[in-house]
C-alpha cells in the first residue's frame, strides 16, 4: 500500500496576504500534489496553477532541477501581497522537508 505524507506550511505577510502550501508526497518520494492557496494576487494567475502542475509527479530526488523550474515560473510572475522571495523560499523549504520526511519513512 502506498503511504502518503502531507506536509503543510502557512505564512502571513505582515500587512500583506495569506499563503497556505500543502505538499503531498508518496513513499517513492514523488510529489502527488502541491496545493497553493491563499488570498494573494498573482499575474498571470495561471502561473500558480502551472507551478503545481510542474511539481506534480516529479521526484524529490531532483530537488535542484525542481527548484530551477519553480524559479523560472516565479520569475515570470508578479505576486502581490506576498514577497516573491519568501514565496519561493517557502516552496523550496517544503520540498526539502518533504524529501527528508519521505527518506525517513523509507528507512523505517
Amino acid at each position: 500500500m502506498t503511504v502518503k505524507l502531507t506536509l503543510e506550511k502557512e505564512y502571513k505577510e505582515p500587512k500583506g496576504k495569506y499563503l497556505h502550501l500543502k505538499l503531498i508526497v508518496n513513499d517513492r518520494c514523488c510529489i502527488d500534489n502541491m496545493v497553493i492557496t491563499g488570498d494573494f494576487f498573482a499575474y498571470p494567475p495561471e502561473n500558480i496553477d502551472k507551478l503545481s502542475l510542474v511539481l506534480k509527479g516529479s521526484t524529490l530526488f531532483n530537488i535542484d532541477d525542481l527548484m530551477k523550474r519553480v524559479e523560472g515560473i516565479i520569475k515570470n510572475t508578479e505576486i502581490i501581497g506576498i514577497n516573491g522571495r519568501i514565496f519561493k523560499e517557502l516552496i523550496l523549504g517544503l520540498l526539502k522537508e518533504g524529501l527528508k520526511e519521505c527518506q525517513r519513512v523509507k528507512e523505517k
Binding site: K12, P14, H20, G38, D39, F41, Y43, P45
Partner: protein
C-alpha cells in the same frame, strides 16, 4: 474627464462573474467601452478568490444549510459574503493605460469611488493597503483585481447594511490571519456603513452615493447604458464555468 458606461444590474453569482469576465474579454477587443457596473447578488452569495480553497474559506455546513451559493471569482483576494439586502458590488472594466501601473496604487485609485461613497453617507472611510476600505479601523469594503489583454477588471464591495452575523457564520479565516490582524473572530474586524452612522442606509441611498463617489473620484462622466447582445451571449456561455463544481472546487 473620462467617460464610463454605467450599468446597474442584479443577478446570481454565476451570471455576475461570467458577465464581468465577458466584459473584460470584449473590452480587450474594443467591442465595449470602459464600464462601471454596480450590481447586487440575488440570491445572497459567497464569492471566493481565485487562489482560495473552499474548505478553508467557507463554512460549508452553514452555507449548505442556509442555501447560500458559493462561486469562485476570476480575481484573487479573499472570500466575500454578498448580502442581497446589504451589499452592492462594483466592477470596473477599464483599459490598463488609464490606471496606475503599480498594483497597490491601482487598487487605491479604483477603490476611491467606494471610499467617497461611504463619506457621502456619513462614515469617515479610508483606503487601507493592500485592498481594503475601512471605517474606524474596521473593514467595510474589499477589492480584487485581474489584469489581462491590456484590460483591468476590478471588483469591490460596499457593505452598507450587510447582516454581519450571517457573514461571520458563513466565512472562515485562518487563525494565523486573525492573529496578525489582532482579532479573534471575523466579526470583530468588519463593519457596515449603517452600523457606523447609526441608522439603516437604504440600497437606493448607497447606489446614489456610489454613482456620485465614482464620478468624483475618477473625474468621470457616467453614462447609464445597457448591456449589448454580445455581452449577454458571451456571459451566458461563460456562466456554465462558474456554475460547475470543477471550477468552484478547483482548490477544494
Amino acid at each position: 474627464m473620462i467617460k464610463l458606461r454605467l450599468i446597474i444590474d442584479e443577478g446570481d453569482g454565476a451570471y455576475n462573474m461570467a458577465l464581468d469576465e465577458a466584459m473584460l474579454i470584449l473590452r480587450s477587443v474594443n467591442a465595449i467601452p470602459d464600464t462601471l457596473r454596480l450590481y447586487v447578488f440575488k440570491p445572497s452569495t459567497i464569492t471566493i478568490g481565485y487562489f482560495q480553497s473552499v474548505s478553508e474559506s467557507v463554512n460549508e455546513d452553514f452555507v449548505n444549510s442556509h442555501r447560500i451559493p458559493v462561486v469562485r471569482r476570476p480575481t484573487g483576494g479573499g472570500a466575500v459574503y454578498h448580502d442581497t439586502y446589504g451589499e452592492i458590488t462594483y466592477s470596473i472594466i477599464i483599459s490598463e493605460d488609464k490606471v496606475p501601473k503599480d498594483y497597490v496604487e491601482s487598487f487605491r485609485f479604483l477603490a476611491e469611488g467606494v471610499i467617497r461613497a461611504a463619506r457621502i453617507l456619513g462614515a469617515p472611510a479610508e483606503f487601507k493597503p493592500l485592498n481594503d476600505g475601512v471605517i474606524a479601523g474596521k473593514k467595510f469594503s474589499g477589492q480584487a483585481q485581474l489584469r489581462r489583454l491590456g484590460v483591468v477588471l476590478q471588483h469591490g464591495t460596499i457593505m452598507y447594511a450587510t447582516d454581519i452575523d450571517t457573514l461571520a457564520q458563513s466565512l472562515l479565516a485562518p487563525k494565523l490571519k486573525l492573529t496578525h490582524k489582532g482579532v479573534r473572530a471575523i466579526k470583530e474586524r468588519v463593519t457596515t456603513i449603517s452600523n457606523y452612522v447609526g441608522r439603516k442606509i437604504s440600497k437606493d441611498e448607497a447606489l446614489e452615493a456610489l454613482i456620485r463617489g465614482f464620478s468624483e473620484a475618477l473625474n468621470a462622466k457616467l453614462i447609464e447604458g445597457s448591456l449589448t447582445e454580445v455581452e449577454l451571449q458571451l456571459a451566458s456561455s461563460l456562466r456554465w464555468k462558474y456554475l460547475s463544481k470543477t471550477w468552484t472546487y478547483l482548490r477544494p
